[in-house]
């Protein structure tokens, strides 16, 4: 008998005569409404709680702000995946790497940062979710560089976790990001900055 058959036979023997149970979902489900000013404020506050830097601005201000933020960090070379609105880079004056052909891990380690969009953002938990879609790139791009700047459009901000789960496609690789890399392993206190990007900056475009 294969181990597969053995395990399945043991499971079936263990369950003989056991009644099934009903699942009641009495918790708050997806809200499915339009983002309000209040929800944007909540998202902003919750992201900030993780000690990420947050800016709320209008579309027309994005290019100028991106240029200022990169300049302020002294960033010269950044990775920008295909599908990131090119106009947002117009004022930056930095060398832009497109990850095409794919950069090696060592090359990614040598860049000054990465700029992406996102798939969904969650107000209640201050989370951004990337699904490798346009403007987001493959997973390593937002992992190896030490600085991640993520542009979130207000319309992408949902109320809670159930809304995000309903919107996302599990067939795509997903990365849920809540603040910069951190650890609670030393005396159970949160310390920012371990293996992932140590700086996370979020631009909310209203």
């Amino acid at each position: 008998m294969s181990s597969r058959d053995l395990i399945l036979a043991r499971v079936r023997r263990a369950l003989a005569g056991v009644p099934d149970v009903e699942i009641t979902r009495g918790y708050r489900g997806p809200a499915e409404d339009r983002p309000s000013a209040e929800r944007i404020r909540l998202f902003e506050e919750r992201v900030r709680d993780y000690r990420a830097v947050v800016h709320v601005l209008e579309e027309a201000e994005v290019a100028g702000r991106v240029a200022r933020l990169l300049g302020g960090r002294g960033a010269h070379r950044v990775v920008v995946p295909a599908g990131f609105p090119s106009g947002w880079l117009d004022a930056a004056g930095v060398e832009v790497l497109a990850d095409d052909p794919p950069l090696s891990a060592a090359e990614l380690d040598a860049v000054d940062g990465v700029l992406t969009t996102c798939a969904v953002a969650i107000a209640e938990t201050g989370t951004i979710v990337l699904d490798t879609g346009p403007g987001q790139g493959r997973r390593a791009l937002t992992l190896v560089p030490d600085y991640h700047l993520c542009v979130v459009r207000a319309a992408q901000i949902v109320a809670g976790v159930p809304d995000a789960v309903a919107r996302l496609d599990p067939k795509r690789p997903l990365t849920w990001i809540s603040g910069p890399s951190a650890t609670s392993d030393i005396e159970l206190n949160r310390v920012e900055g371990v293996h992932g990007p140590r700086s996370l900056e979020v631009l909310i475009v209203t």
Partner: protein, 471 residues
């Protein structure tokens, strides 16, 4: 049947381990500080969720339903993972799982692997098994790294090095990092940020060049074949995305029926474990993501035995959040090592004896490692009634002869009222001869208690003499 292996040998019984641990004042200080911090954080983010009770009820029911239909969901998971380009392997016990993983690693021609913290691989002793095959496994989670470098044992599900404070961690890094790779900086301080930075530098190269990674998973979705890993540091993402080959060892109870079920568990788990609204990183992938080679090893290792137990099977609902450890007054004082298993604390006290059986003195003593205060049940996000399972296991554990003899004697005395009266009179007369500590195997009881004084006169004698207080 062979005894299920749980990562550590079952040696001395819990009370003896505990007695040693509580004498270690540094350990008690570290644990007290850490568990207090996390308890307060958990309480505040749980209070913030207005529908916590409903989420907990749904979490319990989804897990119970899944276990009830486990055969169906395991087969469905296998189909979905395979359809998405992954490979599924089944391991009946620890030895088989270790063999499967070692063979998969050897097939790649590599001799080094990076690891994401995982309870399942600790449980089966994978690192030791790989080493015996000439393969070195590098732990990458900060706490696991502290344990590995210090040649220590994990003492907590979520924070395996919870028994170490920052000064001890600095010592371990300064002394042992050089033996495993890049040494710690010369001027390393015990500032947590400096320690985290040292770990970042130590592991960076390794992440960028290692070709094989081994992980566990928090959830595996039957409907879609999606694997889910929650973490904080980014070492998980490094291991899950950069290497060419990824092997995930997952207990069969980790399966969830539908994608939608994540809306419940992604709220329950982070708030219960690290006391955050959301953990910094969660990775989800389905089959061979971004061209990676993906292997899923489904592990039984005693779980189907637990599943057969009407009362005990609820332990399989556990999502390893560690909230029950953090609130447990016994755990807070003894720490995790006293439990002699990779699963310490209240969940360990019910899971270990069920997985491993009650053949050893340690495993028989674990159901007694509790005051039955019920705090663990209250915080458990999937409502596992740990106290009830403890009581059930106590009833099943073979009892020591002294207790059996004592109970039999008490039964004989209490059976007839005349016998009781005679015994009480004898007791009153001999009261000056009663020692402070009971002899032989009964001594355990008086080690932690004063023996009650035998009164000069029993209640019955007093009643007869005074006619119930009227004379």
């Amino acid at each position: 049947m062979s005894v299920t292996f749980l990562g550590m040998p079952a040696t001395r019984p819990f009370p003896r381990n505990a007695a040693r641990a509580v004498r270690d004042s540094q350990l008690r200080f570290n644990l007290r500080k850490a568990t207090r911090t996390i308890r307060a954080k958990r309480a505040s983010v749980v209070a913030e969720a207005p529908d916590w009770a409903e989420l907990r009820e749904a979490g319990r029911a989804i897990k119970e339903h899944t276990l009830r239909n486990l055969d169906k969901y395991l087969v469905q998971l296998e189909e979905s993972v395979t359809a998405a380009g992954g490979h599924v392997h089944w391991a009946a016990d620890a030895a088989e799982a270790n063999r499967i993983v070692a063979d998969l690693v050897k097939a790649t021609g590599e001799t080094e692997v990076v690891k994401v913290k995982s309870m399942a691989t600790q449980e089966i002793g994978l690192n030791e098994a790989l080493l015996a095959q000439g393969i070195t496994a590098y732990e990458t989670d900060l706490a696991e790294l502290i344990v590995q470098l210090g040649d220590d044992r994990p003492s907590h599900i979520l924070v395996p090095a919870i028994h170490r404070n920052r000064a001890e961690i600095r010592e371990i890094f300064a002394e042992h990092m050089s033996g495993w790779g890049r040494p710690a900086p010369e001027d390393l301080t015990d500032d947590p940020a400096a320690l985290a930075e040292a770990a970042r530098l130590h592991l960076r190269e390794r992440f960028l060049k290692t070709k094989v990674a081994i992980s566990g998973a928090n959830f595996a979705i039957a409907e879609t074949g999606t694997m889910v890993v929650l973490e904080s540091e980014g070492n998980g993402r490094m291991c899950l995305t950069l290497p060419r080959t990824l092997i995930s060892v997952v207990g069969i109870e980790k399966v969830l029926p539908t994608w939608r079920d994540l809306e419940v568990f992604l709220q329950l788990l982070p708030r219960s474990s690290t006391g955050e609204r959301m953990n910094p990183y969660t990775s989800m992938w389905t089959g061979a993501a971004e061209g990676q080679e993906f292997h899923l090893v489904l592990l039984d290792n005693g779980r189907t035995g637990v599943l057969a137990d009407e009362v005990g099977r609820q332990a399989l609902r556990c999502i390893r959040c560690s909230a029950c450890l953090n609130v447990c007054p016994v755990y807070e004082r003894t720490g995790g090592h006293a439990y002699g298993s990779v699963y310490p604390g209240p969940i360990g006290a019910i899971l270990t004896p069920q997985l491993r059986g009650m053949g050893s003195e340690l495993d028989r003593s674990l159901p007694y490692a509790s005051s039955l205060c019920g705090a663990c049940y209250e915080v458990c996000p999937v409502a596992i009634d740990i106290p009830s399972v403890l009581v059930e296991l106590r009833a099943r554990a073979p009892h020591p002869w002294a207790e059996r003899a004592g109970m039999a004697a008490a039964g004989w005395v209490l059976e007839r009222s005349g016998r009781l009266a005679r015994m009480q009179r004898a007791g009153g007369r001999l009261r000056r001869l009663v020692p402070r500590r009971l002899p032989g195997p009964l001594g355990g009881w008086t080690d932690t208690r004063d023996l009650p004084k035998v009164p000069e006169e029993s209640f019955r004698e007093w009643w007869d003499r005074t006619d119930g207080g009227r004379r």
